[in-house]
């Protein structure tokens, strides 16, 4: 076999691509994954991080709902370090119709979701941040999931099973022979080199950009780019996910994730050309705060860290202008039967929650085509780092008296934290003080997790995701990267990009404490450090 020949090529380094790469690799296939940027740069890293119970879809889409709850239970088992089992409430406010609640609970139960009506007072005791005016509450097994970690863990496991991953590598065209895709042409944005890779099957898992990939392959799929904007608040206002018990609408989910909480989303159709550079508008920010404060009044006076937006990879079905009514269901296209193009599969639609199922469906199809008879094992096989009931249990399994740094590392890496730590006190010292990320964790991420720059590092370690948004840790991490990569110029340019990327999320909410932080950061970078 030639160096650039594989059984399957997967295009897209989001959660779907990573999951598919893992599944394929676990079934013994020789896998190549190609990603134009870094892992989780599209919709994977730009959502709530909600571990859906499926309740949100129960009334409108039973199939999605039951998929969600099955995957929900699976993720708790195989990705325990990425999941926070918080539970969730669906609350009814005075302006909502309480009659909806009965229908909601009934639909949940029908989909296999354990929905339980809780007395509003009791619910408020369990989650004091909720709007005290609530007139109804239903408890469901929602949770939160860290999409970056989940994606990185899938990617890592795929590699441990022999997959090869090429980041910052863009597909520029397909190598076709008659009606069959034989491979891909690529361009690497870092080495500035072109390449060719061959495989009998290519899987298009590029999310919203899948439309473009399909076009390159010569087939058409109509994606519906629906922008969703979200806000990150500076600390966990709520411990339990809060949803509105009504037909899905704007800004009706508040998810506690790691040290923050996230309110979202909006839904607006955008032109396809804007997918690469989505911006959050002041109107969206205002709407998110206004609606968010109805779920948890404290949001009206809580510091906001940043605003961001993602594009849902919905597949067009009708002329719905908002995209709300498009099925969130999984779309797995065999372009051989659909368009007569052999060796090309598209896996799209779906949700972060159902990535594993999507991967399973795509891999099943790949295996059928390659006549490989091996069953999917991703639902039973834990991801690297998973294990242990709580992060407390994991931390105390590894260390007798875990320090704060060690506890924080376990919170991010689960069982894998053990490898990251070393007894050397230099490794224990902090790079990121807001999120307690140590030198050891950074260095391990650089070594093991394909880190090219600071933004990549952030996705894998939470460096720069805390209150100061990189002010304190940006240069420290840049210093470590300069050392690891042996190039200070690259690290300095990278630092500039990193701070600009952080600022992109800050200026839409640039007032109060966020503007104070921005002024201070300006001062430090321009006048003190001379960046």
């Amino acid at each position: 076999m030639k160096r650039n020949e594989y059984d399957v090529i997967i295009v897209g380094g989001g959660i779907t691509g990573a999951g598919t790469a893992r599944d394929c690799a676990m079934r013994g296939l020789r896998v190549l994954l190609i990603e134009r940027h870094d892992i989780a740069t599209g919709a994977t890293g730009r959502n709530h991080g909600l571990l859906h119970s499926g309740a949100r879809y129960a009334v409108t889409d039973q199939e999605s709902a039951s998929e969600c709850i099955r995957e929900n239970m699976i993720l708790r088992q195989i990705a325990s370090h990425c999941v926070d089992e918080t539970d969730g409430f669906f609350i009814t406010l005075p302006e909502d119709d309480l009659n909806y609640q009965a229908k909601f609970v009934e639909s949940c139960l029908a989909a296999g979701i354990n929905a339980e009506i809780v007395d509003p007072k009791e619910a408020l005791r369990m989650e004091p941040s909720m709007n005290p005016d609530l007139i109804g509450a239903v408890k469901v097994p929602d949770g939160s999931v860290d999409p970056f970690r989940l994606c990185a863990a899938n990617m890592l496991d795929a590699k441990l099973h022999g997959a090869q991953v090429l980041l910052y590598t863009e597909v520029t065209g397909f190598i076709k022979e008659g009606d069959r895709i034989q491979g891909i042409r690529t361009y690497n944005h870092q080495t500035h080199k072109s390449g060719e890779y061959y495989a009998p099957i290519t899987v298009n898992a590029a999310g919203i950009w899948g439309q473009h990939i399909a076009e390159l392959a010569g087939v058409k799929i109509g994606m519906f780019p629906a922008k969703g904007a979200l806000l990150i608040f500076a600390h966990r206002v709520n411990g339990i996910v809060i949803n509105r018990c009504r037909k899905p609408a704007n800004a009706d989910i508040l998810v506690p994730g790691d040290t923050v909480c996230v309110i979202g989303t909006t839904s607006t159709k955008i032109p396809f050309e804007e997918c690469d550079n989505v911006k959050v508008t002041p109107d969206e920010v205002n709407l998110l705060i206004e609606e968010g404060a109805k779920l948890a009044p404290a949001l009206a006076s809580t510091r906001i860290l940043r605003a961001y937006a993602g594009v849902r990879p919905l597949v067009s079905a009708d002329n719905d202008p908002s995209g709300r009514n498009i099925s969130r269901g999984i779309v797995c296209l065999d372009h051989e039967t659909r368009d007569g193009l052999k060796g090309f599969i598209t896996i799209t639609g779906g949700k972060l929650m159902t990535y594993r199922l999507m991967a399973e469906m795509a891999t099943d199809l790949v295996c059928r085509k390659l006549a490989v008879d091996k069953a999917c094992a991703t639902a039973e096989t834990p991801l690297p780092g998973s294990g242990g009931k709580s992060f407390r249990e994991v931390a105390e399994k590894i260390w007798e008296n875990p320090t704060t740094v060690q506890k924080a590392a376990v919170g991010r890496l689960g069982m894998a934290a053990e490898r990251m730590q070393s007894s050397d006190s230099v490794s224990q010292s902090l790079v990121c003080e807001c999120e307690e990320v140590s030198v050891g964790e950074i260095n391990s991420a650089i070594e093991r997790l394909d880190v090219n720059g600071l933004t990549d590092l952030r996705r894998r370690t939470r460096v720069g995701m805390g209150t100061c948004q990189g002010e304190l840790c940006g240069c420290r991490a840049a210093g470590l990267l300069a050392k690891a990569h042996g190039c200070a110029d690259r690290a300095r340019e990278d630092l500039k990009d990193f701070m600009t990327e952080r600022w992109k999320g800050m200026y839409p909410i640039g007032w109060g404490d966020a503007l104070r932080e921005a002024e201070y950061t300006q001062w430090v970078y321009k006048h003190v450090l001379g960046v």
Binding site: S425, V439, G479, K496, G510, Q522, V524, G530
Partner: protein, 377 residues
């Protein structure tokens, strides 16, 4: 309590004005809501202009040595910046080629000083660099806390045990003509710096670190002490909560701690800084000056407050309180008779006359002190 002048804000602008007025025989109080931007001072008196000699003299009287000559300052990330006046800590080079060979010394595990960036930048200008690390047992205890290997904590140890580091560097030094060290020396005074400078055949230059700034803290402390020695009253950790105004004249201010013991004065100086220190406060819809409700010009559309490029000149940094020619603060279109605004609360509104950054703080402080003194004579 009665004073000639009450200054709100104890940073570079407030202290400069306070010392000037106290030297002129005034009775001055400074109300300072915590410490200030002096703690992030790079040591470069940017845009100091014609106030260069006057501020050097004022700082010298406080025991703060400055270095007045045109040249280049080597920044922590390796860039060179043109300077005319700096704190004595700062090494000023006549041109960008700082040396033939440089030895860059850092303390093992100190992540707020960036030898690799310095080395790569210096090599481009023809300086061969070696980076070496030292560690001394006296500092190892700092490591037990993962966050406290900070410049100030290192400086405390260095002020006592600098000789050990010097002897380590002596072993490392070969034929280099320049030694670069982080600014982690001389928290209390400059004596340690002088000793280190004369300990080697090579020139020693101290380069900035991430905050807190050791030279900045020392300078703040010495200026405050000078102000107090002159008889000034420095109220640290207190903040002005309201002011009594009548027909364009401020008669007194109330502070959170002193409440009923109001501060009366003939003149009031507002030196509360920009957004960081809450001299200016912003909400989603407005930018305001919270104490007196002074006039500020800014666009209504929030989108126009920012430039998407973080490193571009940010429009919001230009906003500042409006003043008349004598820096009297303007409220509802009319200058208040005895309230002056100095320093970064002005934003860039008076950039043409007084510059920005440290230069703005000092030049506006002198201007207002002169106006007040003139009025008294």
């Amino acid at each position: 309590m009665r004073f000639d002048t009450v200054i709100i804000g104890g940073g570079l602008a407030g202290l400069t004005a306070g010392i000037s007025l106290q030297e002129a025989g005034q009775k001055v109080a400074i109300v300072s809501a915590g410490q200030n931007a002096m703690h992030f001072f790079s040591g470069n008196f940017e845009e100091i202009g014609t106030a260069r000699e006057r501020v050097s003299a004022l700082f010298a009287s406080a025991g703060v040595r400055t270095h007045s000559s045109d040249g280049w300052m080597l920044m922590p990330m390796g860039s060179m910046r043109e300077v005319s006046l700096t704190l004595d800590d700062v090494a000023v080079f006549p041109d960008k080629h700082v040396a033939e060979k440089a030895l860059i010394v850092n303390y093992t595990g100190f992540h707020d000083f960036y030898g690799t960036f310095l080395a790569e930048a210096l090599e481009k200008n023809g300086t061969t660099c070696r980076i070496r690390f030292v560690r001394i047992p006296e500092m190892e205890h700092l490591r037990l806390s993962p966050s406290e290997m900070r410049s100030v904590n290192i400086a405390r140890v260095m002020d006592e045990h600098w000789e050990k580091v010097v002897s380590d560097i002596r072993v490392l030094l070969k034929d280099e003509d320049l030694i670069l060290l982080p600014q982690v020396f001389g928290l209390k005074d400059l004596s340690v710096l002088d000793k280190i400078r004369t300990a080697f055949p090579a020139r020693v230059a101290f380069i900035g670190t991430m905050p807190p700034s050791v030279p900045g803290i020392r300078t703040q402390m010495l200026l405050k002490r000078r102000f107090e020695v002159l008889g000034g009253t420095f109220l640290m950790g207190d903040e002005v909560t309201s002011a009594a105004m009548h027909e364009g004249i401020v008669s007194s201010v109330t502070t959170r701690n002193l409440d009923t013991a109001r501060l009366f004065a003939d003149h009031f100086i507002l030196a509360t800084g920009g957004y960081f220190s809450k001299g200016l406060v912003s909400t989603p819809t407005l930018v305001n000056e919270p104490l007196f409700g002074l006039d500020i010009d800014y666009p209504e559309d929030r989108n126009a407050w920012y430039d998407p490029d973080f490193f571009a000149d940010q429009p919001y940094l230009n906003f500042g309180v409006k003043t008349d020619e004598s820096l009297r603060a303007v409220k509802d279109g009319v200058p208040l008779q005895n309230l002056y605004a100095i320093g970064s609360i002005l934003g860039n509104t008076r950039k043409a006359d007084y510059g920005s950054a440290a230069g703005l703080a000092i030049r506006t402080a002198f201007a207002v002190a002169d106006t007040i003194k003139g009025g008294n004579v």
